[in-house]
């Protein structure tokens, strides 16, 4: 991939005179496909197209328009689609101009480059570095832009939190840029308005505020790690000292900073170096799943995961209530109640003392309540791994509990080795204090002007604050938001906010690495960024670029324009910075004294655990079809959350999956559907936040159940004493996997490390089959032949590959009803199987779980090809891929029936024009131009990203070589994978990375006994249990 840092490229991004440059690109894109460049002549305000007839009459043009923008001409009456249409669809506008007889102003906006910037080759994608912030998680990204349209988000190799990988949320965020339900204009009291009107109104307000030193002004903003933003906040405090400025974010708000202040006396960010750890203990901490830096954690963890990894294979111990991907990959897992994490740590500390580890006074508290053997063995192992182990405690755990974790790491000499501390971005008090104060102020009616920068407090503020009612009391309510939501409904002014791909900002990663947020496209809906609006609140409106640029130069002496350029190019500036941290043992000891084991829960006094959802997150992605349809890693539920309960508890409550129950917690109730989740702690109801949105747009409304209704400020993450009672009705929760057991079939093959050492080829030889002979001589493949290997030992089931594939390959969304019918379209899926560890195979209370990504394995003897009557799926001789010929396919579905891997997906309907999948013109901009958009009635499936293969071949040819270098081709799935579980390359070249991996003894072919000769093979999963636990 190439980063462009040419001046011509940068300038359009931040100079006003090149207004709407993004749209130009959009236009370029259009006519690349039809006629030559359109050169408009300005004449008395009208624009005429010199090559108009050329544009409009070529058959390519006609078909192009009808193909890609069918509704175009007809939607001219609807202002919104008209705007998007006019401002975005260049060539078709030319036609519309014809049709309506006059071409109006917007057309000027889509004039193509008068002069093409030197390194902009129409049709060739470009890549820009930027940064994604999500509730204080910072991930460096590289975004692919096709002729001005951002189409694909990928990780930035140079960013510590990404290392080139990207999670499902980061990648899915691009769809929100094209969300048809975004805030498209300023509205005042629900009526259409303008920025001009708002600015005038604000200036009056501001005058009044300044007179009172800002008294009566309340600003609520989302969590952010942007220095420029922080600096702007400071400016506001200068200008309006009396103003109240609080941060509210429903899911970022964690106790870690409080914990470091307790343990080390200053605000710090713990940074784990898992690649150095032999033993990793995750206590209610989803370090590989939802926690900040999880991509990095995955990469580092995987580096030591292979049985033959340099430094030996690591061992992961998970202690948790909910069944997370971290618990799924763990070698040992202990179910505890979320509220007992502290008690567990104290028990562990006690055992460590037994093993001669010096634990500060007041921390250790022996207990036999937690599987003594587990604790003892773990303690013994940790004691032997001083400086080479990590004890990670969930960031949502109380400060004292996390502090105990720090103390244990300290005692084990891990601090400075596997655990380091970076200065915290900001000294945030307890996450709820701010919103509490805000609600109080609002309720007291002392707030004249309420400015809410992003977020959705009316929906996600703790229920006990009844924020919505309080908010009503403010005189003027201003909401800057990317999409109208529950809060906007209550606001007077609703202002369009820029998507992060449209705005200038910056961010500091947990380890202190600085990175820039730079726009890929001019604001599609004329929005403003939080920073821009905040500068206005400070009384000095500025462009985001100026603020960020100025702050960058000011932040450190000696920074120059050149550093800036480099920062823009690389996406990052400078590296990690770490701080000294000395433990205040006494303080921790005292705090630990308060940490007691809870009284046992029961079916009548349940624990209620709130989960951060990896699809809709805190609810902000509710209107994002890709993420809604993404199956949850563990439950495989799509389009909804559910009240997760363990099998045993389900029995006690007399409920089963899909049964509706009423959850009662502190007088608040919620009706939700039950999902029986193996491996969940007993007497616990775990439910994801962010569902049940009431104002989320066409896709996201009324999906699932609103867990915020039960969430109070004193129990943000775990509540005890909840009741659940069966009520009438069933939920019909849509899931992509109906069967949870592998039925003892040799699909995912596993060994312990010991077994592997004794018999490394076990997986390869597990299936005995008669000699695989053919009636004929096998085809001789010549030249480069593509193949893939998937390491089941590294896959954690994070779903990153699924969204990567969806974005890269224009995969449609089908909606919950169709998912229920089993018609989801994902080209790559992650099969998830539970296996009982008890003697009773039906007992899934303590299950092992395996994840297996499955996409088309590109069989050499492909069963699908034989049966297609019209030869719509055939083998490519160069590369040996199993190709689909969409325009040849008549849709007999015979290939899918005959596919043993069931990876083929059929377009039962025209998904792009049906139900939740329906696309507007704006959404069509998200399409990858290199991949055909499939029509109704044809079969589709994984292509190994053949468009990338061909691009790489083309580049090689340009350089005069017929051979593509190893690593030059990375399919989207492999690229996104944080643990590098997926490797692609030339299997003919013995030195290619994939060939070397396939040569490993634990490499095996799933269903190879069918003589399908799959090109994708798997590496067996190796577990690394502590021998003492096994015996």
């Amino acid at each position: 991939m190439s980063h462009h840092h040419d001046e011509n490229q940068r300038d359009p991004m931040h100079h006003d005179d090149n207004h709407d440059h993004g749209h130009d690109h959009g236009h370029d894109h259009d006519h690349d496909h039809d006629a030559g460049p359109l050169t408009p002549i300005q004449e008395n305000g009208k624009t005429y197209w010199r090559s108009l007839d050329h544009v409009s009459q070529t058959p390519e043009m006609q078909s192009f328009i009808t193909r890609e923008f069918p509704e175009g001409a007809s939607e001219f009456l609807d202002p919104i689609s008209r705007r998007s249409f006019v401002s975005l669809m260049g060539a078709s506008v030319a036609l519309a101009g014809l049709g309506t007889g006059c071409v109006r102003r917007p057309v000027e906006k889509i004039v193509p480059h008068a002069k093409r910037p030197e390194d902009l080759l129409p049709g060739l994608p470009q890549y820009y570095a930027t940064t994604f912030q999500l509730s204080g998680r910072v991930t460096g990204l590289v975004v692919e832009s096709n002729d001005g349209r951002p189409t694909k988000i990928e990780g930035n190799k140079l960013h510590p939190a990404s290392m080139g990988a990207a999670g499902s949320l980061e990648q899915g965020a691009i769809l929100s840029l094209y969300d048809p339900d975004r805030t498209v204009r300023v509205t005042h009291g629900g009526a259409e308005s303008t920025w001009g009107a708002y600015d005038t109104a604000w200036n009056e307000t501001f005058g009044a505020l300044r007179a009172k030193g800002g008294k009566g002004l309340l600003v609520i903003h989302e969590a952010t790690r942007s220095p420029a933003f922080a600096a702007t906040v400071a400016k506001v405090r200068e200008a309006l000292p009396q103003a109240e400025i609080v941060e509210w974010d429903p899911v970022s708000g964690d106790e870690t900073i409080a914990a470091t202040k307790l343990a080390y006396g200053k605000a710090l960010e713990p940074v784990l170096s898992l690649e150095k750890a032999d033993t990793i203990v995750a206590v209610d901490a989803d370090i590989l799943g939802s926690s900040p830096f999880h991509l990095r954690h995955g990469r580092d963890w995987a580096a030591r995961r292979a049985p033959d990894a340099p430094g030996g294979m690591n061992r992961l111990w998970a202690v948790e209530a909910n069944f997370t991907v971290t618990g799924g990959t763990a070698d040992h897992r202990l179910r505890i109640r979320s509220g007992d994490a502290g008690a567990f740590l104290r028990a562990l500390a006690a055992e460590l003392q037994q093993n001669g580890v010096e634990i500060p006074a007041g921390i250790a508290a022996p207990s036999t309540a937690f599987a003594p053997k587990f604790v003892q063995t773990l303690a013994k192992e940790l004691a032997g791994k001083k400086g080479r182990s990590v004890v990670a405690v969930g960031r949502h755990q109380p400060a004292a509990v996390q502090a105990i974790g720090f103390a244990i790491n300290d005692a084990l000499g891990n601090v400075g080795e596997t655990v380091r501390f970076a200065p915290a971005h900001a000294d945030v008090a307890s996450p709820v204090d701010g919103i509490k104060a805000a609600a109080k102020a609002l309720a007291s009616g002392s707030v004249d002007t309420l400015v809410i920068l992003g977020g959705n407090p009316a929906f996600d503020a703790p229920a006990d604050l009844s924020f919505a009612d309080a908010m009503a009391k403010a005189k003027t309510k201003i909401h800057l938001t990317t999409a109208p939501n529950e809060t906007s409904r209550l606001a007077d002014w609703v202002l369009p906010e820029t998507h992060f791909l449209e705005e200038w900002s910056d961010a500091v990663a947990a380890d202190g690495t600085y990175s820039v947020v730079q726009p890929l496209v001019q604001p599609i809906w004329d929005g403003r960024s939080k920073i821009e609006l905040l500068t206005q609140v400070a009384g000095a409106p500025k462009k985001g670029y100026d603020v960020v640029y100025a702050h960058f130069l000011a932040a450190e002496a000696g920074r120059t324009e050149l550093d800036w350029r480099k920062a823009l190019h690389d996406g990052v500036h400078g590296g990690a910075t770490f701080a000294e941290a000395t433990l205040d043992a006494g303080a921790v000891g005292n705090a630990a004294g308060q940490v007691k084991k809870l009284a046992d829960a029961s079916a009548s006094a349940l624990d209620l655990v709130f989960l951060v959802d990896n699809k809709v997150f805190d609810g902000r992605f509710s209107n994002n079809g890709w993420l809604q349809e993404l199956p949850d890693s563990m439950t495989k539920l799509t389009w909804t959350n559910a009240a997760l309960v363990s099998p045993a508890t389900a029995k006690e409550l007399g409920v089963d999956t899909n049964q509706m129950i009423r959850i009662e917690q502190g007088g608040r109730t919620l009706d939700a559907g039950v999902w029986v989740q193996p491996g969940l702690a007993d007497h616990t109801i775990a439910i994801a936040l962010g569902y049940g949105r009431k104002a989320a747009g066409r896709v996201g409304e009324n999906r699932g159940f609103d867990a915020y209704a039960l969430r109070t400020s004193d129990a943000l993450w775990t509540a005890t004493g909840a009741k659940a009672s069966k009520i009438a009705g069933t939920a019909m929760l849509p899931t992509t996997q109906n069967h949870q057991s592998m039925e003892g079939r040799p699909l995912v093959r596993e060994q312990t490390q010991a077994e592997y050492a004794a018999n490394p080829t076990y997986a390869k030889e597990l299936v005995k089959s008669p000699p695989l002979l053919a009636l004929w001589k096998d085809h001789e493949y010549t030249g480069q032949q593509w193949g893939m290997s998937i390491d089941l030992n590294a896959c954690v089931g994070c779903n990153g590959c699924m969204i990567a594939c969806q974005a890269e390959n224009n995969i449609p969304v089908v909606g919950p009803e169709q998912v229920r019918m089993g018609r989801q379209m994902h080209w790559i899926r992650i099969d998830r199987y539970f296996a009982s560890t008890s003697s009773d195979a039906a007992d899934l209370s303590e299950p092992e779980v395996v994840h297996q990504p499955v996409s088309c394995v590109q069989c050499e003897n492909a069963p699908c090809e034989n049966v297609c009557p019209v030869a719509a799926t055939v083998h490519s001789k160069d590369g040996g891929l199993n190709d689909m010929i969409y325009n040849r396919c008549i849709g007999t579905r015979y290939c899918s029936n005959n596919c043993p891997y069931k990876v083929r997906r059929f377009n039962f309907f025209d998904w792009h024009n049906k139900g939740e999948g329906t696309l507007t013109d704006v959404q069509k901009l998200a399409f990858n131009p290199d991949v055909t958009v499939r029509t109704r009635g044809v079969m589709e499936k994984c292509t190994y990203c053949v468009q990338r293969i061909n691009a790489a071949k083309r580049d090689a040819k340009v350089r005069g070589s017929d051979v593509v270098a190893d690593g030059a081709i990375t399919p989207a799935c492999a690229q996104a994978c944080p643990t590098e579980a997926i490797v692609f390359g030339d299997i003919k070249d013995p030195n290619s990375r994939v060939s070397k991996i396939k040569a490993q003894p634990r490499n095996y072919e799933m269903l190879g006994e069918l003589n399908t000769k799959p090109r994708t093979s798997y590496l067996a999963r190796i577990r690394n249990p502590n021998p003492e636990m096994v015996s």
Binding site: A774, W776, K777, N866, V874, S876, K877, K1013
Partner: protein, 177 residues
């Protein structure tokens, strides 16, 4: 030349017409025919009708169908547009058997039916016999002998006499319109 004529005689039972036909044949008539509601076994011998040549026509068609079918598949999949399918060879004859077989049968069937019609000179929608009102019962329960005027031994009076002599009833002379 003279108008085409024929003389028709009616018989009541298969036995009668078989006997009569034998006599007519014996009398040296060749260009004559019998018309019956169903094929009568023995009548062919009496009339000394040669064995049908239909079989050869069918054989030819069958061969064309079989060889043609195989050739088509070989050329289309094996030569003209080679596609690598399921790792099989371009000319995967094992897989081409069913269609070769089907086409053999199909062409044979066409050969049989159209060959039969060809040999019988059908369709022929107008024939003097069909114009004859009594003759309609040939498809019901009566049996007819007709002697063509093209027969060298044809003689309006003698032939009529002969037919009546061998038991023919309602002997009639028909003229092509």
């Amino acid at each position: 030349m003279a108008k085409h004529k024929l003389i028709v005689a009616e018989f009541d039972t298969p036995a009668e017409i078989v006997a009569a036909a034998g006599k007519l044949q014996g009398a040296g008539y060749r260009d004559y025919d019998a018309h019956t509601p169903f094929p009568i076994h023995g009548l062919d011998k009496a009339m000394k009708i040669k064995d049908s040549r239909l079989g050869w026509i069918v054989l030819a068609h069958g061969l064309v169908g079989g060889l043609g079918g195989l050739t088509m598949q070989w050329w289309m999949n094996g030569v003209d547009y080679q596609m690598l399918i399921g790792g099989k060879p371009y000319f995967a004859f094992q897989a081409f058997v069913p269609i070769t077989f089907a086409l053999t049968i199909l062409l044979s069937a066409f050969g049989t039916v159209f060959g039969m019609l060809f040999l019988n000179g059908l369709p022929r929608w107008s024939h003097p016999l069909l114009a004859h009102p009594g003759f309609r019962r040939h498809s019901d329960d009566k049996f007819y002998l007709s002697v063509e005027s093209d027969d060298p031994k044809f003689d309006a009076t003698k032939t009529r006499a002969l037919l009546e002599e061998i038991g023919g009833k309602r002997v009639a002379l028909l003229e092509a319109p």
